[in-house]
Amino acid sequence: MSVASSHPSSGLRGWLLADAPGTAFQARCQRAYLAWLVFRGNPIAMAGFIIIASLVLMALFAPWITGGNGLTQILSDRLLPPSGAHWLGTDQLGRDIFDRIVWGSRITLYIVGLVAVLVVPIGLAIGIVAGYSGGWIDQVLMRITDIFLAFPRLILALAFVAALGPGIENAVLAIALTTWSPYARISRAEALTIRNSEFILAARTQGASSFRILRSHVVPLCLSSVIVRLTLDMAGIILTAAGLGFLGLGAQPPSPEWGAMISTGRQYILDQWWVPTIPGLAILIVSLGFNLLGDGLRDVLDPKGGG
């Protein structure tokens, strides 16, 4: 086969498209860049990406965007409709809803991030050990996974709160405990597939310990599926956290958590619709964003597409 033409390459783009990377760093950047090009070609995925990127930026730059901290009460400005002064109106305590949404994005990201940090390592570790070892280790670990899979999320959260008291961290713990099981399943399935690959056999003939094989060989190949699953799960996690917030079990007032905002604002829905509706819309948009992003990531990271 012969390449009939080649793109002019210079500068950063040239560095990213060069045939022979000179360092490990350059090689990884190249792979990421090519994956990005594929991702960029998918408009729906880009929509999801923009939404989530906006969320992250909003959370990062909250102090500069709002100029306050979303907690200032001006009681004389209670329940004002959206206007030039207050873009999304004010709530029942005169707090600017736009400010609270922006600050609430930090809480949303905090919850989602904390759950991810707990769930992914546990699920991965249990799954790959089960899949790679097989035998009774596999059986025991999978039965444990099944047990946790059986817990209903909200009810466990209620139990936790009853035992430990309300708060974001307890809510996160409850959500994490009921979310990790599918990740173990996914990782186990991947590990089972990979277990007899020739590169694993080659690693064994080199004398690699099982730990090294799992860490260096199995985990990188499981990550794609896990990341896609995580992104798609985010919407559910956000909704659960919002639900807990709504029940008063998550973030406590005056914290601008979106679910709690819906809860405290719901009595105003008929006359001052914006008070509960805006936070609801925020939850909707962010959940949608994660779903679209997850779909896009799946296209990029799918092995058939070359990830």
């Binding site: 086969m1 012969s2 390449v3 009939a4 033409s5 793109h7 498209l17 090009l37």
Partner: protein, 289 residues
């Protein structure tokens, strides 16, 4: 040979559009096929498989096929509409691939698949289709047709699977068979047996056969004529028994670097690729006199 050729290919080009730019897999291939066994030999990347698929219009979405002439028994394949191509595929030109497992439906018994294929092309009863299927299975030298009829594709060995594929292909009685590495995944003895069945079809039914392979020894001993491809072009075209007198340095290089049982040597001669081969002129492949 005064009969009209079955297949005429002139100046065939196949181009793929990739994110990094267009890539030409086939660059100006021309040949004629009569009622004979034609071998197309090449290494990976030579464009031999793409040539076979381009004839049948089975290309990837990203590929563009152009040619001066691409004619099958008088029908122009370049301008044929979808309905005509569907009729030609299977009944006119048929294809066997390397791994039968990918071509057979894994959840249907083998016999049923063949019988269904039969019913597509001949309007008869199910019992008649079954009877004919068993006949065909015998014709491809399967000793226990009843058992194979009931078997599923994953229960068959490689050689058996290929025979089943050939059986399925025989039903519409095609004029041309394109076999793309049909025996690469099979043991040598089984390969030879499968090729013998195809040989029968050529001699008894006058089918034309294009055998695409990387195995030079096999093709040289089996086919009537051989085309050697490299970098999308035909480097050499000759009668199979003349292959040892080949002239092109690529062919000679390939022949030389094969290890031979009777020869003892410290190291094998290696192929030195002359860059001008990738830019050589097209060699026409016509039937030997």
């Amino acid at each position: 040979m005064s009969e009209a050729p079955l297949l005429e290919v002139e100046d065939l080009h196949v181009t793929f559009h990739t994110p990094k730019g267009p890539v030409e897999a086939v660059r100006g291939v021309s040949f004629i096929l009569g009622r004979e066994k034609l071998g197309i030999v090449g290494e990976s990347g030579s464009g031999k498989s793409q040539t076979g698929r381009a004839i049948l219009g089975l290309m990837d979405r990203r590929a563009v096929v152009r040619a001066k002439t691409l004619r099958f028994a008088g029908t122009d394949l370049l301008t044929a509409d979808a309905a005509t191509m569907r009729r030609i595929r299977g009944a006119g030109i048929s294809m066997i691939l390397q791994d039968p497992k990918y071509s057979l439906n894994p959840v249907m018994s083998v016999g049923r698949q063949i019988a269904e294929a039969f019913l597509v092309h001949h309007k008869t009863t199910r019992q008649e289709a079954r009877r004919r299927t068993l006949e065909i299975l015998e014709a491809v030298r399967i000793r226990d047709p009843e058992r194979v009829y009931r078997a599923y594709p994953h229960e068959l060995s490689g050689g058996m699977g290929q025979r089943v594929m050939i059986a399925m292909m025989m039903i519409p009685e095609p004029e041309i068979i394109i076999a793309d590495e049909p025996t690469s995944a099979l043991d040598v003895t089984v390969s030879l047996q499968v090729l013998a069945i195809l040989d029968d079809m050529v001699t008894r039914r006058g089918t034309g056969l294009i055998l695409i392979s990387h195995d030079l020894t096999l093709v040289a001993s089996y086919c009537d004529r051989v085309l050697i491809m490299y970098a999308g072009r035909i480097m050499e075209s000759c009668a199979a028994d003349q292959l040892t007198n080949a002239e092109h340095p690529y062919t000679r290089g390939l022949l030389n670097c094969l290890p031979k049982i009777d020869e003892e040597s410290e190291s094998l001669p290696t192929l030195v690729r002359d860059p001008s081969w990738a830019a050589d002129e097209v060699v026409d492949g016509g039937p030997a006199g």
